[in-house]
């Protein structure tokens, strides 16, 4: 089974559960193949958890879900050392982070202390506890969700942590027809439990390696950097895209090219991904007010920027 077939089967598999959201599924897979982490920002009940769950199930991977609450402590997610009386030694009990796919539900509900304990795991794919470093599983992907509608008692994610997510997605409501299909389904089982794994973890690691080998032509790099540069010089933005952001866009574009069965990137890959990958990495200037927590406004500004940067011919 080659790359495009594997990815197609993965997409189809998830699409059995998440109806009418092919773009969201595609983005999630891109995120996975680019070794990135996904931040889903939407109102409750549109299928955030189901997406993460079905992705994990389709991959024959371990899946853990952490409900972030205000009293959650770092040790609750990382793990804890417990004294073993027989061995007369401390023994590390791995926390829920030791899984392939981790769903961090309502990540903005917990304290910054706990949020930052995710930092190392997300960027280094390893965890250090009591001077000991434990590698995490491969592939490792954090899918975090947050509710933009309600801010009461939340701790908004700091910039540094937002930067570690490859992309920020919105799922949105399905169309009425799609919604009807959801309702029409037998409700005895969770739909995500019905699907069967189509790819192994090793498969994903291979695909990730393949995504890295996708070619990006020189002029496209220039195009990408022109976009990044434009965000830094835009009056509406007080903070532009960092170098890590440029790198993320590059990686994501390559993964998207692989998903679309190409061995090379196209300008559309970059252009299409730029709002998703970059919108949470920029900060609106004060004149733009605080009305846009959802990021819709930021995406519009990014779209304007994209419309001004010439595509290489």
């Amino acid at each position: 089974m080659n790359a495009s077939q594997s990815i197609k089967s993965l997409q189809d598999n998830i699409a059995q559960v998440i109806k009418g959201k092919s773009r969201v599924i595609e983005m999630a897979i891109v995120c996975l193949l680019a070794r990135g982490h996904l931040l889903i920002e939407d109102v409750p009940g549109v299928g955030k958890t189901t997406l993460a769950h079905s992705l994990a199930r389709s991959l024959d991977c371990s899946f853990k879900r952490i409900q972030f609450t205000s009293d959650l402590l770092p040790s609750d997610i990382v793990g804890i050392s417990v004294f073993n009386r027989q061995k007369q030694a401390f023994e590390f009990m791995p926390g829920p982070l030791f899984a392939h796919i981790v769903l961090a539900d309502e990540i903005n509900r917990t304290t910054p202390k706990t949020q930052s304990s995710l930092l190392e795991a997300m960027s280094e794919a390893q965890i250090s506890v009591d001077n000991h470093t434990y590698p995490l599983h491969q592939p490792f992907m954090v899918i975090a969700t947050q509710n933009p509608a309600e801010y009461h008692g939340t701790f908004p994610l700091p910039e540094s942590q937002l930067d570690r997510f490859l992309m920020r997605l919105r799922i949105g409501y399905p169309t009425p027809a799609e919604e009807k299909k959801v309702l029409d389904r037998p409700q005895l089982l969770h739909p995500a439990d019905e699907i069967q794994p189509v790819l192994s973890a090793q498969h994903i690691v291979d695909l990730q390696a393949q995504a890295e080998k996708v070619r990006m032509e020189d002029s496209l790099m220039d195009y990408l950097l022109a976009i990044v540069l434009a965000t830094r010089h835009n009056d509406l933005l007080s903070l532009g895209v960092s170098t890590r952001g440029a790198l993320a866009l590059c990686k994501a574009a390559k993964a998207l090219a692989l998903v679309r069965d190409r061995t090379y990137c196209l300008p559309e890959d970059i252009k299409e991904l730029a709002p998703t990958v970059l919108s949470h990495r920029v900060m609106l200037s004060r004149s733009q007010g605080m009305r846009t927590k959802t990021g819709e406004h930021t995406e519009r500004i990014l779209q304007d920027i994209l419309d001004s940067v010439p595509v290489p011919i």
Binding site: Y264, K271, I313
Partner: protein, 737 residues
């Protein structure tokens, strides 16, 4: 060839070229020549490490101490040379330089040794340049340049290779290094030579363009002037004979105004000095008085024969003469010189029409001479007796006390004469018919050379003939004088000039007629053709014309010449500009007439100007758009693009033009497939072709896939289809409508 070997060989070649040019420029002592030659031979033998000889040579090496002692001795020798032997800095320095060269050639080990060798070879080349202005220097210079480019290139390659090798030692296995060692290919060879030739061309350009300083700063020209005979105050009979075999070149004469077949020319008499007094052994001038010629305008010296006004411009036969440095101050020219132009301080003339400089020139001089030839009037041709002026009779009828037999002979020969001119021709034909031309005459020893020639031996050469004719003429009362000069017969058809050599030295006769003036007569029988037609001789003539050009273009290329060239270029540029503006104005007259016609039929006056302005504005806008639409990124980008990418970009741009004509404009920020979607919505018929083209474009442009020939033909077919579609179906959503 291996790199190291090639490098060493080219270094030695470089040094050898410099040395060879030095040996040609200055006479080196034989022991030094042998020594240096041996050093070169050993150096070449050492290059090939593999042979047994070089192995043996490695043992022959002298120690560093020996070489140091050698150098000290050489330095001491330099001082001895300078102070005692040659007593001049230049030869002594050159001898020392050759010894240094030998030292370096024998010790080519380290990088700096090679650098020293190059420095020494450069000095040898410069020294030879200072010593000579000959043509042979040019090929040596060129070879030096080629070898220099070679050597420097190889030097850098070798250095890089060594550094590379050093790096490889630490990382990779040495086998890899050895396999990566570059070798010198034929292609490399020719590329390098091309580079050298290009450098040479550039040098030439600089040579002609850079403002010049006067020549002769470094030039060593003393003692180079040619020794001539026959032009001094007193000329012994028979002095010309010995030089009749000497082929060294005295002057070159161009006749810019005369037309004629390029291959052969009539012999040209170049008059030097005239003599009127013969004492039985030698000729001399009894009228030593000279006067200065008027210089008007500057540089032009005119001989005023009568009180007539000076002509506005010089008249007569024009000759451009390049005179080698001679030991005489005489200016030569066809009879009779009226005007000379050249950079002279002053020009003097004697009473017999010869021109002299104040002193002999030590450098080559170039001047233009104008001559007014004389011819015998028909009245005097038949006149039985003529009346000579008193001063002519005084000066030109002197006869030494020769034997009465000569006077007898003259009377006898001219007995049947009906006129003066007839008498002259009778003596002329008598000499031509009864005497034999022979250079082998020991006349300098003879006490009575003229009697010997006329009465007993009856063989001789031009001087004897001319002297005999003058004496015979004077014996019958006809004024005559002897003239020495050159008879130019060697026409160089390649350069278009006469080559005059020492052996062309000649003597002839001038006979006086009161009305016509002095008439040139040559009693010497024509010498057998010396000018050869074999390829070897014509080759020699080609070489001589090349040498002349070399002298003119390089050795004597002065600021003046540069100015002339620049003026010539400017003048020709002016001509081109005038012609261009003429044709342009003709065109504009036509077009404006047409425009006026159109405008007068369409609208009242005033509109043409507005229309012109609008047209200009449109043109400017178009230009500006073109400039804006080619951002600088493109230029820098195109360097990195492959040929395939460039081709496919051209194809894609053509497609964009096609689409733009239908109103589907690609915005700068539109990606290829976004545009395709646009095409699908606005011009569905064209979509399949556009789709295929876009696929191909993205595949080659961003996927860097090769563009095959079939791909290209397909793409061109698709473009054609797109164009026909654009013509056949009317646009629906066209903005223009």
């Amino acid at each position: 060839m291996a790199l190291d070997q090639a490098f060493r060989l080219s270094s030695i070649l470089l040094a050898a070229t410099g040395f060879a040019s030095l040996t040609l420029a200055i006479v080196l002592p034989p022991w030094l020549l042998t020594f240096a030659g041996g050093a070169f031979a050993l150096a070449v033998l050492r290059v090939n490490h593999a042979t047994a000889i070089s192995g043996a040579l490695q043992h022959l090496r002298l120690s560093a101490l020996t070489w140091n002692i050698f150098l000290l001795l050489a330095f001491a020798g330099f001082w001895i040379d300078l102070l005692l032997v040659s007593q001049e800095l230049l030869p002594a320095g050159i001898h020392f330089l050759v010894l240094l060269l030998v030292n370096k050639l024998s010790n080519l080990d380290q990088r700096r040794d090679f650098l020293h060798l190059y420095a020494i070879s450069l000095i040898t080349l410069l020294a030879s340049a200072a010593l000579t202005t000959q043509l042979w220097y040019a090929p040596f210079f060129f070879v030096y340049l080629v070898a220099g480019v070679w050597t420097l290139l190889l030097y850098h390659l070798r250095q890089e290779q060594e550094e590379d090798a050093g790096r490889h030692m630490t990382s990779a296995n040495p086998a890899q290094t050895r396999s990566a060692r570059p070798t010198i290919t034929v292609r490399f060879f020719w590329t390098t030579n091309g580079l050298a030739a290009g450098a040479f061309g550039l040098t030439l350009l600089f040579f002609f363009l850079i403002p010049r300083i006067g020549i002769g700063l470094l030039q060593n020209t003393h003692g180079e002037s040619l020794r001539t005979t026959g032009f001094s105050e007193q000329v012994d009979l028979g002095v010309i004979g010995p030089v009749k075999q000497d082929p060294s070149i005295v002057m070159r004469v161009e006749l810019p105004d005369s037309v004629g077949p390029a291959t052969t020319r009539e012999p040209l008499y170049l008059r030097g000095v005239a003599y009127n007094r013969y004492n039985g052994k030698s000729w001399s001038n009894s009228l030593p008085h000279r006067r200065m010629l008027t210089e008007l305008p500057p540089g032009t010296f005119t001989l005023r024969t009568s009180r007539a006004k000076l002509p506005a411009s010089p008249q007569g036969l024009r000759q451009d003469i390049l005179l080698e440095p001679l030991d005489t101050a005489v200016l030569f020219g066809a009879p009779f010189l009226s005007t000379v132009t050249g950079t002279f301080l002053s020009v003097q003339s004697d009473l017999m029409g010869s021109l002299h400089l104040a002193f002999p020139s030590h450098t080559r001089i170039q001047y233009t001479a104008y001559s007014l030839p004389t011819s015998l009037s028909s009245a005097e041709r038949t006149a039985a007796a003529v009346l000579y002026p008193e001063h002519i009779l005084q000066q030109y009828l002197q006869i030494p006390d020769v034997s009465s037999q000569i006077v007898e002979l003259a009377r006898h020969v001219t007995q049947p004469a009906g006129s003066v001119f007839h008498a002259v021709t009778l003596i002329h034909t008598h000499l031509l018919a009864d005497y034999r031309y022979n250079l082998d005459v020991p006349s300098l020893q003879s006490a009575h050379p003229l009697e010997d020639f006329l009465l007993t031996r009856k063989t001789g050469y031009c001087e004897h003939y001319a002297t005999a004719m003058v004496v015979l003429l004077r014996a019958v009362g006809i004024p005559a004088r002897l003239v020495t000069g050159f008879l130019a017969t060697e026409w160089n058809e390649f350069g278009g000039y006469y080559t005059v050599r020492q052996r062309d030295a000649h003597a002839w006769v001038e006979v006086y007629f009161p009305q016509s003036g002095w008439i040139t007569m040559d009693p010497t029988p024509p010498v057998p053709e010396t000018i050869g037609q074999s390829w070897w001789q014509s080759m020699g003539r080609v070489m001589d014309s090349v040498r002349l050009q070399w002298d003119r273009l390089f050795v004597h290329f002065s600021a003046n010449d540069q100015l002339t060239v620049v003026q010539g270029i400017r003048e020709s540029g002016e001509v081109v500009r005038t012609k261009l503006s003429e044709s342009l104005s003709a065109l504009s007259v036509k077009s404006s007439a047409m425009l006026r016609l159109v405008m007068s039929t369409l609208a009242p006056t005033g509109i043409p100007h507005a229309a012109l302005l609008v047209m200009l504005a449109i043109g400017a806008a178009y230009l500006g758009r073109r400039l804006l639409h080619s951002p600088r990124n493109d230029a820098s980008q195109s360097d990195a693009l492959s040929a395939h990418q460039r081709t496919v970009i051209t194809l894609y741009t053509t497609m964009l033009h096609c689409l733009a004509q239908r109103g589907i404009e690609k915005a700068a920020s539109t990606t290829p497939f976004e545009l395709l979607r646009q095409v699908r919505e606005q011009w569905f018929e064209a979509w399949p072709a556009a789709d295929a083209l876009t696929q191909l474009y993205t595949h080659v442009r961003f996927g860097q896939a090769p563009l095959t020939r079939e791909d290209r033909t397909t793409a061109e077919d698709l473009l054609r289809r797109l164009r026909t579609l654009g013509r056949s179906t009317p646009p629906q959503n066209n903005k223009a409508q």
